[in-house]
């Protein structure tokens, strides 16, 4: 009886795994096939092998932009957002964690309330200010904005970690005559690397996929990040699915690599209370 149910669960798990993994395999497989073959039989392996799809996806349509551009923009946006959020967020979280309990609870209401503010309440002013300051289509500025939007979660997670930071280690810093800032930089940060990494990875995944804000602030194709680029790209390659699938591969493979390298850390981040905003 229990063996029967055990194999029942295993079958269920394999079906779920197939439903989750097959789309990735299809994206990869279809990236290498021609439009005609995809139309004839999208499930098959027949026809020509067309690795040029990747070159066309990277360069874009003639006179247009491709994933080469999107990729560099995404890297820039992600770098600015993740590094800025980690530095500013960690300093804030650490110093707040030194306050007496009553005060901490009050101060933390600020990031907590920020986490429930919906994007649609912010979108139009973002556009308005970016437009007034002449920074529309500027990936760097969008990176700074993303850093700000990632801060509440970053501060909350890191605060929860710093609160449990052994006070003996901090005291050791004080005995050595280090001030608060140097204790933080020389003792706390080196010992908090796993948590800083976990939070940064969650931020990275959110930033890498963010669309609703980017579609409004990055309207020029040459300034777009990967998720918005995917949409622009789809409309310019409407009639040719090969390069579109190659583009989807290019959008997906980098996050898969990051995920499989750090999946332990990422799931720890999730259980520490991380969300993707």
């Amino acid at each position: 009886m229990s063996r029967l149910s055990a194999s029942g669960w295993l079958v269920f798990k394999l079906i779920v795994t197939a439903v989750i993994v097959l789309p990735f395999l299809f994206i990869l497989l279809l990236s290498f096939r021609s439009m005609a073959d995809i139309f004839r039989n999208p499930l098959g392996f027949t026809g020509n092998w067309v690795p040029e799809n990747f070159a066309r996806a990277w360069n874009g349509p003639p006179g247009g932009t491709g994933f080469g551009h999107y990729f560099i923009n995404s890297l820039l946006v992600a770098f600015v957002a993740v590094v800025l959020a980690a530095i500013i967020g960690a300093v804030a979280a650490y110093f707040v964690s030194l306050l007496p309990g009553r005060w901490r609870a009050r101060v933390l209401m600020i990031p907590l309330i920020a986490t429930i503010v919906p994007t649609i309440a912010l979108l139009i002013p973002f556009f308005q200010v970016f437009s007034a300051w002449g920074i529309l289509n500027n990936p760097f500025a969008v990176g700074v904005l993303y850093a700000g939007l990632s801060l509440p979660m970053t501060v909350l997670i890191l605060h929860a970690f710093f609160v449990d930071f052994p006070s003996e280690l901090r005291e050791a810093g004080a005995i050595d005559g280090l001030g608060h800032f140097r204790t933080f930089a020389r003792i706390v940060v080196p010992l908090s690397k796993p948590s800083l990494l976990a939070v940064s990875l969650l931020n990275l995944i959110w930033v890498w996929g963010e669309t609703q804000i980017a579609i409004v602030l990055l309207q020029k194709a040459t300034s777009q990040t990967i998720p918005v680029g995917v949409l622009t790209f789809q409309s310019s390659f409407m009639s040719d699915l090969g390069p579109i699938f190659a583009g989807l591969s290019l959008a997906t493979i980098p996050v898969l690599i990051v995920y499989f390298t750090f999946n332990k850390t990422i799931s720890q981040g999730v259980s520490m209370g991380g969300t993707f905003r």
Binding site: T17, L43, V117, P118, I120, I124, T211, V255
Partner: protein
């Protein structure tokens, strides 16, 4: 003996922190959060009382936008659609997430591998997943339609072109994309249920189903409540998925509120009306978010 008082002094100096120092250290974070959350909200509220068209000066027109939005049918239709979308997607997501979480917490071999793989949809850029699924449900050339054809169910369904089916296809894709995250949270919550609880259940002679219903579920209820609230909020806001798959069509059958707001503002240039819709939907969403706030507050203050 002589060292002790000196040491105690150093200790207390190391622990005490002046509020001014905290303010200085947390200042940049505070400024940035005010700049990207607080000021824009105030600005959205202001714009909702204006007829701003995306450029030039902002002229205030009183409550005109609110009267137009609340007396017209567009907003209410969209709200109904959004509620339908958010509730159905949330039910699907939470049911699957629970089922998947139970499946990997039975102490079987390979569960950590399943966990790692099942989280994948959460990390893929949403537009990439949406574009893939959008192409897969195209008649004849789409993967899904071909599988259906292979099973003898016909391969020429134009799922996204029909106002009767488009919304449900998008909901299905929402379930594929969004189950991963709550799955991991719920699996974590079930992991934390003490093993003694199950032993007690077994002694009581409870079967698998009763064990889950009477022992596991009540113990993970706080996490479950939070997951439901968060999913309702996220699916209410599922702009990316809908825009990438249907752009709100066909015949406005998938125009959920964030899509309507985007069209009204960024396509039609009527930012005043769009801001009004933003304010009205935000009131709903913030009320919903407040449900999660108490629990998060307890958690943030140190579990």
């Amino acid at each position: 003996m002589a060292g002790a008082p000196a040491r105690r002094r150093a200790t207390s100096a190391g622990l005490r922190i002046r509020p001014r120092v905290v303010l200085l250290a947390a200042g940049p974070a505070l400024v940035l959060m005010v700049a990207v959350f607080a000021l824009p909200i105030v600005q959205t509220i202001q714009l909702s009382f204006s007829d701003w068209r995306g450029f030039g000066p902002i002229d205030f027109i009183g409550i005109g936008n609110y009267v137009d939005v609340l007396t017209g049918s567009e907003f209410w239709n969209s709200l109904r659609l959004t509620a339908q979308f958010a509730v159905l997607a949330t039910v699907g997501i939470v049911v699957f997430a629970l089922l998947l979480a139970v499946a990997v917490t039975r102490g079987q071999k390979g569960d950590s591998v399943f966990r790692a793989i099942w989280f994948l949809p959460a990390i893929v850029p949403g537009t990439a997943a949406a574009v893939f699924w959008g192409i897969s449900v195209q008649p004849n050339s789409g993967v899904i339609n071909n599988i259906l054809g292979f099973l003898g169910l016909g391969s020429d369904h134009a799922w996204l072109a029909s106002p009767q089916t488009a919304l449900y296809v998008v909901i299905g894709v929402a379930v594929w994309i969004s189950t991963a995250f709550p799955f991991l949270l719920l699996a974590g919550a079930i992991d934390r249920v003490p093993i003694e609880v199950y032993e007690a259940a077994r002694i009581d002679g409870a079967g698998q189903w009763r064990q889950f219903w009477y022992f596991t579920l009540p113990l993970i209820r706080p996490v479950l409540t939070m997951v439901v609230a968060l999913q309702l909020i996220w699916n209410f806001n599922a702009f990316t998925l809908v825009w990438a798959m249907t752009k709100g069509g066909p015949a406005e059958s998938t125009t959920i509120l964030p899509v309507l707001l985007y069209q009204e503002g960024f396509k039609n240039g009527d930012f005043g009306t769009a801001a009004t819709m933003g304010v009205l939907s935000s009131i709903l969403l913030i009320a919903l978010g407040a449900v999660t706030l108490r629990r998060s507050a307890a958690r943030a203050a140190g579990e």
